[in-house]
Structures are given as C-alpha cells and as structure tokens.
C-alpha cells in the first residue's frame, strides 16, 4: 500500500534538492558526483511521501492491536460495571484537568459524555467494548489522521517545486540559444543562396553569420544578467520562508509522527503481545500442566517471529523519519549558504558547490537506505 502511494506520488512533480547548486556554477566541478547525486535524488523522490502517508497507516495499524482477551474476563454485575465506568470517567477527567490546568473543553466533555452513554448502554462485558473500540479507533483514524499527511505532502511539493525551478533557471541549457541560431544561420544561408542565384548578388553569408553570432552573444549575456538578478532576488527572499516551513515540517515529523504515532503504535504492539502471552500463561491448559516444551515453543515463536519483527519495523520507520529530518536540514543549510552568497551579489564558487553536493549526497544516501529497508519490510 505504501509503495502504491509512493508510486502515485512519484508520478507527480518531485525534484532534486539542491540540484541547482550543481549546475549554477558555470561548469561541473565533479561530473561523477553530479551523476551520483542525480541518481540518488531520483531514487529518493519515490520514497519522500512514505512518512507523510504512514501517519494515517500507523493509526490504522495501532487500532488493529486493540486486544480482545483470549479468555472471557470476570463477568461484572450491573452495579460493579457502573462503578467501573464512573471510576474510569472520573480518572480520565482528573488526569486531563491536572494537565491542562482548566476544565476540559466542551469538545472533550462531549466526547466523555458520549463515551459514558456508550458504555452504559452496552449490556455485555468489557470484551465487547474492546472489539467496538477497535472499530471506532479505525474510524477515528480516517477522520483525524488522514488530513495531516496530505498537508505535509503539499508543503513538501512546494519546497521541491521551488528547488526544481531554481535548478531549471540555473541550468546552462536554459540560456543557450545555439540551436536556435544555428537553425537561423542554416535557413539564412539557404536564402542567401537563392538570392545569389536569382538576382546575381554577392553572397553575404559570412557577414550575416557573424552578425548572428554577435546577436547570440548579446542575447546570452542579457539573459545571463537577468538570471543572476532573479536568483539574487529570489533566493535571499525565499530563504527565511523555506527555513520556516522546512523547520515546521521537521517538527511535525519528530513531535507528531515519531513521538506520538510511532510511540503509540509500539506501546499498543507491546501490550498486544504481553496480554496475549499472559493469557496463554494463565490459560486453563497451562494450569492443567500441559506440555511445558510446547508452551515454551509457542512463546518463543510469538516473540521471535511476530513480536520482534514488528518492533524492528517501527524502529526502521523511526530511523527513516530521522533521516528525512536530516535531509530537510541539508536543504535548509544549503539554501542558507546560497542565500548569503547571492545576498552579497556574488555567485557560489566551485568549492562551495562541491561541499554542498557532498553533504546532499550523504543525506540522500542515508534516506534512501532507510527507505529501502522500510519498503522491503512492507513487501514481506
């Protein structure tokens, strides 16, 4: 699913961060590095939306870990159940009150009231509540977690499009009128030939070509100046904006995705398996003294084959997020460096280009490596 989303996203415009740095310097300082960077960037662009899409997917995965006890829990009398519900609600209110230092908002109060009604109207055991909570948690993901990811993708797209346009403007190919002037020279030559043949006039082809060469030179110089002027205006102005947005994106990835979504997913995963194992250990079969070896094998298999691989996947997603944050930082730093140079009315030197290229390649490689790990696990 992640790969499918990635492919869809990749079919849209994504760019090569800092690619413009490579080509804006007049001549390539290191063609091998440029090629390497280009290849890495092309691979990375497929992986960029993995994190944004995984916010929603992590929420769905977590909902699936909502456990259902293997063994029926102790049946509660209506009075016991009411007391339990009251205690739950009061505890929840108390915790929230302590945290916010004020009454829960009306939205929160309504949620609690609804929760209470739902619990009270449920005539069965808490086991049924667990099943219901899983379904409702999935619905909540749809409502709550499906908007942040697309917002992040939109923001990333603008950053990337901006980089792409910078690359396009800085490209030597853009301000190169040779093919147009060569075409013009060829057509003018043909015309000269015809005119000479018909009117018996002297052939002025050499003089015309010289004139076109001068026109080409002047036009190139004019647009080269315009390009420098545009980059000197746009880069320093865009720099604080780019820095702000990319920093905000970094914060959301760290504080929302890693610290909240992945943390909750991991906690729920742990609880799922701990509850599962505890239920097995407390089961009637276990108490009746069935094969200890068989039981041990079951537990080992649970641990090694199902619990640990899932935990590893979460850790890989965490690493992917961290490498994405590092990649954004490389973009911020690289652009900042350019903004300072262009702000002074200068152009970046070859050494500056090489350094930025090296840093970008390191960040991109790291991100691609993490992304490949996550993709491989998703396929399994």
């Amino acid at each position: 699913m992640i790969k499918q989303m990635s492919r869809n996203f990749a079919s849209r415009v994504i760019a090569i961060p800092l690619m413009f740095i490579v080509i804006s310097c007049g001549s390539d300082p290191n063609l091998q590095k440029v090629r390497e960077f280009s290849e890495n960037a092309n691979r990375a662009k497929v992986s960029l939306p993995v994190i944004a899409n995984d916010i929603y997917l992590s929420c769905l995965r977590e909902a699936r870990y909502r456990t259902v006890s293997i063994l029926p829990p102790d049946m509660l009398s209506p009075i016991e159940k009411r007391e339990a519900i009251d205690k739950k609600i009061n505890d929840l209110k108390k915790e929230i009150l302590e945290l916010s230092g004020a009454d829960p908002s009306s939205k929160l109060s309504n949620q609690i009231r609804k929760l209470r009604l739902k619990l009270e109207s449920d005539g069965e055991t808490f086991q049924i509540i667990d099943l219901q909570s899983r379904i409702e948690a999935q619905k909540k993901c749809e409502k709550e977690s499906s908007t942040l990811g697309p917002k992040m993708i939109t923001g990333s797209l603008v950053i990337i499009l901006y980089m792409e346009k910078l690359g396009s403007i800085a490209s030597e190919k853009l301000i190169n009128f040779d093919s147009q002037f060569n075409e013009l020279k060829a057509k003018t030559g043909d015309l000269q030939g015809e005119l000479t043949a018909i009117f018996n006039t002297p052939n002025e082809e050499t003089a015309v070509n010289a004139g076109l060469d001068i026109a080409n030179f002047i036009l190139t110089a004019v647009f080269d100046g315009k390009r420098r002027e545009t980059l000197s205006e746009v880069i320093p102005l865009a720099n604080p904006r780019l820095k702000n947005y990319a920093s905000g994106l970094q914060k959301v990835i760290k504080r929302v995705y890693v610290d909240q979504y992945l943390r909750r997913e991991e906690s729920s995963l742990d609880n799922y398996f701990i509850d599962y194992i505890e239920d097995i250990l407390d089961s009637k079969a276990r108490k009746e003294g069935n094969s200890v070896i068989a039981l041990a094998n079951t537990l080992i298999s649970l641990d090694q084959d199902r619990w640990n691989p899932r935990k590893d996947e979460i850790q890989q997603r965490r690493s992917l997020a961290n490498s994405y944050i590092a990649l954004l930082q490389t973009i911020i730093d690289g652009h900042e460096e350019l903004a300072v140079i262009y702000g002074k009315g200068e152009e970046p030197s070859k050494q500056v280009v090489e350094n930025l290229l090296d840093k970008s390649n390191v960040s991109l490689k790291e991100y691609i490596k993490r992304s490949d790990e996550v993709s491989q696990n998703s396929q399994q």
Binding site: T67, Y162, K165, Q180
Partner: protein, 118 residues
C-alpha cells in the same frame, strides 16, 4: 483545543508526551499481579483513552502549525512564479528565433519557385 494558539505548539506537544507517559504508567500498574480482571480492564481502557487524546492533541497541533506556515508557502510560490516568468521569457525568445528561421525558410522556398516562372 478550542483556545489553541500556535505559539503554544510546543506546550501541546509536551502535553501529548505527558499523556503518553501517563498511559505507560497505567500499563505498568496493569501488570501488577494483585489486580483483578476488572481493575486491569479499567487501566487498559484508560491507557488507550489517554493515548487517543495524546494523538488528537498532537495531530491538531501539527495541523495548526503547518496551517500557520501557509504564508511561507505562498511566499515560496511567489518565488516560483518569478522563476517561471524568467523561464517563460527565455522560452519566448527561443520560440521567436525559431519562428524567424521558419519564416526565412518559407521565403526561401518561395524564391526556389521563382526560376520556374521565369
């Protein structure tokens, strides 16, 4: 979250962390052998609720944070427009030169026809 101010975004993330910490405490308490099933279920339920609120707060804070940066995105789009304008200008000049070449080609073809009329 009604009175959410984007300046307090870090505070809301901290609240979310605290809620997750509390949920972890509930889970630890739940593992105590002395608790009966009812008490364990209550703690489990509470932990899930606390984590749910943590996610709600953090997600809303994240959305508000990115929403507050919309002006930065707009400014970047203005930068993109300027770059695109230059790009278009250069493309227009290229198209003009090619157009002139094309016209010269047409004129040449007309001249090629003249000898046949002479």
């Amino acid at each position: 979250m009604a009175n959410f101010d984007v300046k307090d975004v870090d505070l809301w993330f901290e609240y979310s962390d605290l809620l997750q910490d509390l949920a972890d405490v509930c889970d630890k308490l739940r593992r105590r052998g002395s608790l009966n099933t009812q008490e364990k279920e209550i703690l489990k339920f509470l932990a899930e609720q606390l984590r749910g609120y943590a996610i709600t707060w953090a997600t809303t804070a994240g959305e508000k944070l990115l929403g507050s940066l919309d002006l930065d995105l707009i400014a970047l789009k203005v930068g993109i427009a300027k770059l695109e304008a230059l790009e278009a200008e250069i493309s227009d000049v290229k198209a003009f030169i090619s157009g002139v070449a094309e016209v010269i080609g047409l004129v040449t073809n007309i001249f090629k026809l003249i000898p046949s009329f002479l």
